[in-house]
Amino acid sequence: AQTVTQSQPEMSVQEAETVTLSCTYDTSESNYYLFWYKQPPSRQMILVIRQEAYKQQNATENRFSVNFQKAAKSFSLKISDSQLGDTAMYFCAFMRPSYNNNDMRFGAGTRLTVKP
């Protein structure tokens, strides 16, 4: 079974600074997908960024980027120019696609607080 580990339960960062959230995972699969989801106080889970394991290039979405190290099974999220609206729970997730389902497995989450 796949496991996802987020070792930082809580983090804080000053507005406009950069922060990196860590995630490691364990799998024997070669083809899979990794995700970072954001859950603000509204509780709506929002997809931040998605990485396909077969792509060596790290995914980037505006201020959000990942450092994907496949051999090390590491998938960290970097948030640049942090904004107050980035305050949320962040979940790292792993998905192994199959023909009849795409169930996703999550880490325990990191609570990020952006301070003014």
Binding site: N100, D103, M104, F106
Partner: protein
């Protein structure tokens, strides 16, 4: 935009009650999921369904059952609610795809308190 709607945002029930949590998606997705979210544990998969009347157990199915009579609706049932089922419940859906655009769309969650 894809919309996944959970019928209740907050729910308070008594121990032993039968509880129904409803989820509806409007994008004709084949896959639907129920997760439970607890502090320090993240999201854990309870059940999922990849087609009408089809269901598969996730990691923590004990004490729960599900129903999918129509493609757009996926219900989570607590046959006899217990206090250890107090939690946030998240419904999600996704397309049946393979190697194209996998991702989950989530509802806003139901915070269930069992007293």
């Amino acid at each position: 935009d894809v919309k996944v709607t959970q019928s209740s945002r907050y729910l308070v029930k008594r121990t032993g009650e039968k509880v129904f949590l409803e989820c509806v998606q409007d994008m004709d997705h084949e896959n639907m999921f129920w997760y439970r979210q607890d502090p320090g544990l993240g999201l854990r998969l309870i059940y999922f369904s990849y087609d009408v009347k089809m269901k598969e157990k996730g990691d923590i199915p004990e004490g729960y059952s599900v129903s999918r009579e129509k493609k757009e609706r996926f219900s989570l049932i607590l046959e006899s609610a217990s206090t250890n089922q107090t939690s946030m419940y998240l419904c999600a859906s996704s397309l049946f795809s393979f190697g194209t655009n996998e991702k989950l769309f989530f509802g806003s969650g139901t915070q269930l308190s069992v007293l």
